[in-house]
């Protein structure tokens, strides 16, 4: 990987309706790592992801994709280097699941139809939804839709960029995931982040907005913690996610437990409200 390959946000500042959504947030997403973003609702996680994807133009600060300002790439060039999984999907037209995933290949250099189809099916399998390939998308459950959308963004950055294009040659790929685990069951939450890890292993930079610090501890290399639009912690996940920071971030008494044999601590919350406590004897 060439030096300078990164998705880099520098001192972002975003405002909407007089509210400061992001204030001086910097972040560097490096190819090959999983970077988690944690914080409470409304802390600015999605705003940060939207600014990194180019959907939102920050009032101040810059975003650079592989050493070049985001706006300097054409939409198609940008799409070849990074895929974005939004928090909510709104597709109501009756595409088949396979067609939805094939939409992810819009900007990609097209192979022969058979190869394109193979990539689509492989992405479906990677998201664990290969049995749904022929189903109509609107007939799926919420969790199934989320996994199909995940397959779609994986298909978008499935392959490294061809060296033949000098402008994009060898540029790194990125996956930006906004709450990818939100509507998934426990098994699929882990499946999804395992897949994210695999992409990181293949040289893709993965940014994931998460709500569960346990998932961040287990799957992320680095973490950024946001509070009211400001960074309160950033760095290697095991160093940053301390009991003190988690308590302050979520406003809850929190304990880090080391269970038998596990190297990773488990984050457990103890709400103060007595009615929320489990009955004791």
């Amino acid at each position: 990987m060439k030096p300078g390959m990164a998705l880099r946000a520098d001192r972002l500042r975003c405002e909407a309706e007089g509210r400061l959504l992001l204030d001086g947030v910097s972040l560097e997403l490096v190819p090959g790592e999983v970077h988690a973003v944690l914080g409470r609702n409304g802390a600015g996680k999605s705003t940060l992801l939207r600014a990194l994807s180019g959907e939102l133009r920050p009032q101040a600060g810059t975003v650079q994709l592989n050493g070049r300002a985001l706006a300097a790439w054409t939409p198609r060039q940008r799409a070849r280097q990074r895929a974005v999984l939004p928090q909510a999907e709104s597709l109501r037209f009756g595409f088949s699941v396979e067609q939805v995933v094939a939409l992810g290949r819009y900007a990609c250099p097209q192979h022969r139809p058979e190869q394109e189809r193979d990539i689509v099916l492989a992405a479906l399998r990677a998201a664990g939804v290969e049995t749904l390939a022929g189903r109509r998308y609107p007939s799926l459950s919420g969790g199934e839709r989320a996994r199909v959308q995940f397959a779609r963004v994986m298909a978008q950055v499935w392959e490294p960029l061809p060296q033949a294009e000098p402008e994009l040659g060898g540029h790194a790929r990125y996956l930006l995931l906004d709450e990818p685990t939100a509507s998934l069951d426990l098994a699929h939450q882990h499946g999804c982040l395992l897949q994210a890890r695999r992409f990181a292993g293949a040289g893709v930079g993965v940014l994931a907005v998460l709500h569960d610090p346990n998932l961040a501890l287990r799957y992320a290399d680095r973490v950024s913690v946001l509070e009211n639009g400001r960074l309160t912690g950033q760095g290697p996940v095991r160093e940053v996610l301390t009991q003190e920071l988690l308590q302050r971030t979520y406003g809850l008494p929190i304990e880090l437990l080391h269970t038998g044999g596990e190297a990773l601590p488990v984050v457990v919350a103890h709400p103060r409200e007595p009615s929320l406590r489990p009955p004791t004897g």
């Binding site: 058979e114 492989a122 292993g201 287990r218």
Partner: protein, 415 residues
């Protein structure tokens, strides 16, 4: 590419040819990152997602059960060929049907494809019936493909040039020219008015109302479909009132011309007007299907389409311009014809799915065929009386639209 996208084909399903599950790695895999990750990273662990008892991917099973012919007719090329044949049939029927009974030999002869028929038959076909057939094909295609494009742009199957006020704006401008043209001294050059002023006015009217509706239906920077339909309703009401006002002050001859705009007719214009306006309409009809792939991406949402690499603003601007050209021209030629743009794309979607690469050309062909057939019916069922074609399409289209709404209601989806 088309085939692989639209159709799930069983023979392509050999899993042996599947690419490896791993995303393809770039040259320098960062193995250090992987090594320090937790032990759970081992690829085997992902097998929790592959439930052992389930069969391998069977995307083709729904299609496999279908009878062969219907499956074939859902494919782009066969379906377009069928619809093209349907349009040709409707055209030939339109040339043959009427008070003067004419056969295949007369038709071929008049078109210069056989021995010349007697002059009255040739005149009937070339001057009376052929213009109507050409109009039916052109305007039907324009309305249907515009409807399909608008539904894609607004991501709403209820969008239609008529419902969002584009047609009524075009009609209002045209009526204003008819009624106010003489007092304002524009009547001095009748051919000019007929050929250029009316189409230009209806383009302008269509552009104005589209701009208005698009602007008023933006909520926080994004076009809200529900808002758009309500704004379109209001714009339709205002245009209708303005047309009513103009009708009140119109002279007898202008009033007749005005009625034609309100209910549509394929029999009011001849070759000169067709030659002046139809090429622009046809150009728009031919250009719109080129945007099919982008429209497919747009159905995911505007932000999602942008992430996929679609230049969304450019796409929307270009398509709205083409719709203006097509609908403005269509209204200039035939007046308001309701429901074609709404219902034809729905029929295609119900039959073959929402893929715009098929939907747009197929809608154009079916729209042309249906409008030509409807016009032939309108002038023959109650002969010698001619039903206004807009009345006919609304009579058939209205109930059909209600049925669509009822169907939509229970499913929370939009085909």
């Amino acid at each position: 590419m088309h085939r692989s996208f639209c159709l799930v084909r069983k023979e392509r399903l050999e899993l042996s040819r599947l690419a490896a599950l791993e995303p393809k790695s770039s040259a320098s895999t960062n193995s250090a990152t992987l090594a320090q990750g937790p032990e759970a990273l081992h690829p085997e662990n992902y097998s929790i997602l592959r439930r052992p008892g389930l069969p391998a991917a069977t995307p083709g099973r729904h299609n496999a059960r279908m009878p062969r012919l219907t499956a074939l007719l859902r494919r782009p090329l066969p379906l377009c060929l069928l619809l093209g044949a349907l349009a040709l049939l409707a055209a030939l029927n339109g040339l043959a049907a009427g008070p003067l009974d004419l056969g295949g030999a007369d038709i071929l002869g008049s078109l210069g494809l056989g021995p010349a028929p007697d002059p009255s038959a040739a005149a009937t076909i070339l001057q009376l019936r052929l213009p109507r057939v050409v109009l039916g094909l052109t305007v039907g295609a324009a309305l249907a493909v515009s409807g399909a494009a608008m539904q894609g742009v607004f991501r709403n199957p209820l969008a239609d040039p008529g419902l969002v006020g584009v047609s009524s704006g075009a009609a209002l401008a045209a009526v204003a020219v008819i009624v106010l043209g003489a007092p304002l001294g524009l009547a001095g050059a009748p051919p000019l008015i007929g050929r250029w002023l009316l189409p230009l006015a209806s383009f302008a009217g269509a552009a104005l109302t589209t701009g208005l509706v698009a602007r008023l239906s933006r909520v926080e920077g994004a076009t809200q479909p529900a808002q758009m339909l309500l704004v379109g309703l209001a714009v339709n009401a205002i245009s209708g009132a303005a047309i009513g006002l103009l009708a009140h002050v119109a002279s007898g001859s202008a009033l007749r011309a005005l009625t034609f705009w309100m209910y549509g007719s394929l029999g009011r214009v001849g070759w000169p007007e067709i030659a002046a306006t139809a090429p622009a309409v046809l150009l728009a009809v031919l250009l719109m299907p080129l945007r099919g792939r982008e429209l497919n991406a747009l159905l995911l949402g505007e932000a999602e389409a942008a992430h996929l690499g679609v230049d969304v603003e450019r796409l929307k601007r270009g398509l709205v311009l083409l719709v203006l050209l097509a609908v403005g021209g269509a209204v200039a030629l035939t007046g308001i014809i309701a429901f074609v743009g709404l219902i034809v794309p729905q029929l295609i979607r119900l039959w073959a799915g929402p893929d715009h690469r098929l939907l747009l050309p197929a809608s154009a062909l079916l729209g042309g065929a249906l409008l030509t057939a409807a016009d032939t019916a309108a002038r023959t069922v109650a002969a010698p009386l001619e039903l206004p074609i807009g009345v006919l399409t609304a009579l058939i289209g209205g109930p059909f639209f209600i049925a669509l709404l009822l169907r939509l209601r229970g499913r929370g989806e939009a085909w």
